[in-house]
C-alpha cells in the first residue's frame, strides 16, 4: 500500500565532529556544539532559523539523566521546541525519522536532529550489559558479542569460504575508511594480510575476532531537515527523504533460527520487504546506487547484506568476493567505512544517513562514489535486532 506523505522533506545541512576514541578536549555540550555549528554552516543557516530540535543518545553510557537539558548549552535549543527520543543503537536513525515526521506533518518547517555519544566518559561494556534483563540475562550476557553469525555462515558456506568472505568485507571497509577523512579507525589493511588476520587476530567469541568488531567512538552528528518550500530556498542540493521504516522485535535472543524447520525472518528482511514493496522497488541491488549499512561487525555486515538486499543463497558472498561492494563497484556499501570505522553509538545510525546524503550531494570527499548517486539506502541497528531502513533520493521523482 503506497503511503501518502503530507509534504516533502529534505536534508539541507549536515554537521559532524571528527570521530575519535577520546575527545578529551571538549565536554558533551561543547562536542555537540561543534556538530551543530558545522551543520548550520553547511546549510547556510543561523540557529534562529531552527524551529525545533530532536535529541538522542544512550544516556546510561554517560550516566546523565535527560542529557538534552544540559546540552542546551551547546545545541542552541533555548526557546525552541524540543523533543527527545532514544531507541538504543538505532537512536541515530530514530532522531532522523522523527525530524522527518515532524517536518512532514506541517507542525515545524526546519528541524535539527542531534545524535551523539561520548563513550569514553562511561563504561561502554557496563552500559551494554545493563541492557539485559536485570533478573536473568544480565548475568549471562557477553556485552553484545556473539559468534553465532560466523557459526551459521560457516555451516552454510563452509568454513574457509565464509571466513575469507568476512575478512574480505572487513578489508574493503578499511579501504573505504582510509579514504574517509572523518573515520575514527583506518588501519591501512592490505590484501596480503587477509590470511594472517583470519588466523591470528585475537578471538572474542567463536569466530568473531577483534579485527571484525566495530570501534567505540566519541562524536556527534547533526542534520537539518526542511520542508520542500524552505529546502529549495536554502540549498540547490536538497537530499529528499522518500520513506523510512522501523522494525523492532522482542528481547529474547532466539534470533538465530537454528532450526531449519522453524525459520525466523530477520527484522532486516521484513523491513526491506515492506519498504521496497510499498515503494515499488523489485530489485534493490539494481535500484540503489549506494548502501550505508549499520554493520557492527564484519560477520553481521556480510550476513545482513543478504537480508537487506533480498538476496538468496550465496549471492551476497559473490558480491563481496567480486568486490562489487567497493567504491566503483556495482553497489558500493559503506563508502564511509561503516560502523567498523567509527561508532559513536547515539550518532552512528545518523552518520549512515548523513554519509548516504553526502554521496547524493556529490560532496562526500575522497570517498565519494565516482558515478552519479541518485538513490541511496541507509540502515540503523540496535537493541535485540532492531532495524531502521531509510530511502533517500536526489530528485523528487517518485
Amino acid at each position: 500500500m503506497e503511503k501518502k506523505r503530507n509534504r516533502n522533506v529534505a536534508i539541507v545541512g549536515i554537521g559532524e565532529t571528527k570521530y575519535s576514541s577520546h575527545r578529551e578536549d571538549v565536554n558533551q555540550p561543547e562536542m555537540v556544539h561543534e556538530a551543530v555549528q558545522d551543520a548550520l554552516k553547511d546549510a547556510g543557516l543561523s540557529i534562529n532559523d531552527i524551529d525545533c530540535t530532536v535529541h538522542g543518545n544512550m544516556e546510561l553510557f554517560e550516566m546523565i539523566h535527560q542529557p538534552d537539558l544540559w546540552h542546551t548549552l551547546g545545541t542552541g535549543t533555548y526557546g525552541k521546541s524540543a523533543y527527545r527520543l532514544t531507541t538504543g543503537g538505532t537512536t541515530g536513525s530514530t532522531v532522523v525519522c522523527a525530524a522527518d515526521n515532524l517536518v512532514a506533518s506541517g507542525m515545524y518547517d526546519i528541524v535539527m536532529c542531534i545524535g551523539f555519544e561520548k563513550l569514553q566518559e562511561g563504561h561502554t561494556t557496563g552500559g551494554i550489559t545493563n541492557m539485559a534483563d536485570p533478573l536473568w540475562f544480565r548475568k549471562l550476557q557477553t556485552g553484545a558479542l556473539t559468534g553465532s553469525a560466523g557459526y551459521m555462515m560457516m555451516e552454510e558456506f563452509g568454513e574457509e569460504r565464509a571466513k575469507r568472505a568476512a575478512m574480505t568485507y572487513r578489508i574493503i571497509m578499511d579501504k573505504h575508511a582510509c579514504l574517509n577523512p572523518n573515520s575514527h579507525r583506518a588501519f591501512g589493511l592490505e590484501w596480503d594480510q587477509l590470511e594472517d588476520l583470519m588466523e591470528n587476530s585475537p578471538r572474542l567469541v567463536g569466530e568473531l575476532r577483534l579485527i571484525h568488531m566495530c570501534s567505540q567512538s566519541d562524536g556527534a552528528c547533526v542534520m537539518i531537515l526542511a520542508s520542500e518550500e524552505r529546502a529549495r530556498e536554502i540549498t540547490d542540493k536538497p537530499v529528499w527523504i522518500r520513506d523510512h521504516i522501523t522494525v523492532h522485535r522482542e528481547e529474547s535472543l532466539n534470533v538465530f533460527g537454528n532450526d531449519e524447520k522453524h525459520p525466523v525472518k530477520m527484522t532486516h528482511r521484513f523491513a526491506a520487504e515492506q519498504l521496497f514493496e510499498r515503494n515499488g522497488i523489485t530489485d534493490p541491488v539494481e535500484y540503489f546506487d549506494v548502501f550505508e549499512m549499520y554493520d557492527p561487525s564484519a560477520w553481521w555486515g556480510l550476513d545482513w547484506m543478504r537480508e537487506f538486499l533480498l538476496l538468496e543463497g550465496d549471492e551476497h558472498l559473490k558480491l563481496v568476493e567480486n568486490k562489487e561492494i567497493m567504491i566503483g563497484g556495482k553497489l558500493p556499501i559503506n563508502p564511509s567505512g561503516g560502523v567498523i570505522a567509527a561508532n559513536p553509538i547515539g550518532a552512528t545510525a545518523s552518520v549512515r544517513v548523513a554519509e548516504a546524503a553526502k554521496q547524493i550531494r556529490g560532496n562526500a570527499g575522497p570517498h565519494q562514489i565516482p558515478t552519479p548517486v541518485n538513490h541511496a539506502l541507509a540502515s540503523g541497528f540496535g537493541g535485540t535486532f532492531w532495524t531502521v531502513l531509510f530511502m533517500l533520493e536526489k530528485e523528487l521523482s517518485w
Binding site: 578536549d25 533478573l135 549471562l140 557477553t142 557459526y151 555451516e155 591470528n200 537454528n258
Partner: protein
C-alpha cells in the same frame, strides 16, 4: 635501515638503559622478547629492579614476545603510531602473556628523538617554505600588494609574496618594485622571526630597512601567522581536567508473578515454561505475553531439565563487570539448549561446563547435538545461578 621516522630500531634498544625506571619494574622478575622482522631479536631481562638488554636469537624463556616490523616498532615507541590500532590491525602481535608485556610500558621513559639544531640557512628555507601555510586571508581582505624580502648574506636570498583577491603566492626572486620591501641580514632575520629581537631595535640600529609602504610592513604580523621552529609548540597545552567517578544507585527489581514463579521453580530444581494459547510456543524463561501473537500466556508446564544443545558461543574475551571490574574466566561457553518438551526456536540459554566446551557437538537438523543436563547449585535462592551450568549427560 628504518628511516620512516628518521630513527633506527637500534636507537630504541641502545637507549633503554638510560630510560629505565626502576620503580616501574618493582616486583618484576621476567624476560621479554622483541622480534623485529628483518632486523633481529632482542631480549630484555628484568630482575631485582635492574635490567639488561641484549641482542640474541634465543627468546625461549621470555614471558612474552612482541612481534612487529621496524616502522611499527619505532612508531609506537615515539608515539607516532597508536599501539591499540597497530594491535587491532595485526601489525603488532604478542606471543605469550599480553598482560605481562603491558608491564614493560611503565619501565621506561618515552624515547625522545634527539633534537637536531637547524642552521640559519635551514631556518630561512623553512620559514619561507611555510609562509603560504601561515597566510591569514581574513586579515588580507581587499589587499592587492606585493611584499619583497631581500635577505642578504650567503644564507639569505630574495623572495616576493603577491597578495590579491584573498590569495597569496610566493616566488624566489623580486620583480620590479614591490609595494614594500624588507631589507635585512640573514642572521638578524632569523633572530627577528624567532622573536629574539624586536623589529624596532633592528631598524633603529640601521640593521634593517623598510622600503615602500611602511603601514603594510606593520601589518605583516597579522597577515602571516607566527613562525615556529619545527617541533616547537606556540603555547603551553591547555591543562585538561577529567573527573573520575563511579556512580552507583541501589535498585530493587520486582520479579512480577511470571518471572517470580519461574525463579521459584528453580529453587525446587524445576525449569518452568509458559505456553501461548494461540501458537503453542513455549517461553523459557517465561514472559507475560507471546510477542508475535500478542496474547497473555497463562498456562504453565515443566520442561527439561535435560535437552539438546542447538548453538554454542565460545567466549574468549570476557567483559568486565562494570561495578567490580571482575571478569569471568575464559574461555567459557554460552549455550542455547532445546530442553525436552520444547520445539523449534524455543531454546533456553545458560552456561556450559567450562572443561567440556571442546567436546560439545552442536545440533542441527541433520545431526543430533550433545545431550545436556543442568548442574544445580547446592544453595538455591531463586536466581539465574541456581543452575551452575549445563554439562554433557553421560
Amino acid at each position: 635501515m628504518s628511516e620512516e621516522f628518521g630513527i633506527k630500531v637500534e636507537e630504541i634498544f641502545d637507549t633503554m638503559e638510560e630510560r629505565f625506571r626502576p620503580e616501574g619494574a618493582e616486583g618484576v622478575d621476567a624476560s621479554f622478547g622483541y622480534d623485529i622482522t628483518g632486523r633481529g631479536k632482542w631480549k630484555l631481562t628484568v630482575k631485582d629492579g635492574k635490567m639488561k638488554i641484549e641482542k640474541t636469537d634465543d627468546l625461549s624463556d621470555c614471558r612474552a614476545i612482541s612481534i612487529s616490523d621496524p616502522d611499527t616498532f619505532v612508531g609506537i615507541n615515539i608515539g607516532k603510531v597508536d599501539g591499540m590500532q597497530a594491535f587491532n590491525s595485526g601489525k603488532f602481535k604478542v606471543d605469550g602473556d599480553l598482560g605481562a608485556l603491558g608491564q614493560t610500558a611503565k619501565m621506561f621513559k618515552r624515547f625522545q628523538p634527539p633534537k637536531k639544531e637547524m642552521t640559519t640557512k635551514e631556518i630561512i628555507q623553512d620559514m619561507f617554505g611555510t609562509l603560504l601555510s601561515r597566510f591569514q586571508p581574513k586579515n588580507a581582505e581587499g589587499l592587492d600588494v606585493t611584499i619583497g624580502y631581500d635577505i642578504s648574506g650567503e644564507d639569505g636570498g630574495q623572495w616576493m609574496a603577491t597578495i590579491k583577491d584573498g590569495t597569496c603566492t610566493l616566488k624566489e626572486s623580486i620583480d620590479g618594485t614591490p609595494t614594500v620591501t624588507l631589507e635585512v641580514q640573514a642572521d638578524d632575520w632569523v633572530e627577528l622571526m624567532l622573536g629574539r629581537v624586536e623589529a624596532m631595535t633592528l631598524l633603529s640600529a640601521g640593521k634593517a630597512a623598510i622600503v615602500g609602504d611602511t603601514q603594510l610592513a606593520l601589518k605583516l604580523t597579522e597577515i602571516f601567522g607566527k613562525y615556529q621552529l619545527p617541533g616547537e609548540k606556540a603555547e603551553p597545552e591547555q591543562e585538561l581536567i577529567a573527573l573520575k567517578k563511579t556512580i552507583s544507585v541501589g535498585q530493587h527489581f520486582a520479579t512480577g508473578p511470571v518471572m517470580g514463579k519461574f525463579l521459584k521453580g528453580l529453587k525446587d530444581k524445576k525449569i518452568l515454561a509458559n505456553i501461548c494459547p494461540k501458537c503453542g510456543r513455549k517461553q523459557v524463561p517465561p514472559r507475560e505475553i507471546c510477542a508475535p501473537c500478542r496474547v497473555r500466556c497463562e498456562e504453565w508446564v515443566e520442561v527439561g531439565p535435560k535437552g539438546e544443545i542447538r548453538l554454542l558461543d565460545t567466549v574468549y574475551y570476557a567483559s568486565p563487570d562494570p561495578l567490580t571490574g571482575e571478569t569471568r574466566e575464559t574461555p567459557y561457553g554460552t549455550a542455547w539448549i532445546l530442553l525436552d518438551g520444547c520445539e523449534g526456536n524455543d531454546v533456553f540459554s545458560h552456561f556450559i561446563r567450562p572443561d567440556q566446551i571442546d567436546r560439545i557437538v552442536i545440533g542441527r537438523n541433520d545431526r543430533k547435538g550433545s545431550r545436556l543436563r543442568p548442574v544445580w547449585a547446592e544453595k538455591r535462592t531463586g536466581g539465574v545461578f541456581d543452575i551452575k551450568y549445563f554439562e554433557i549427560d553421560e
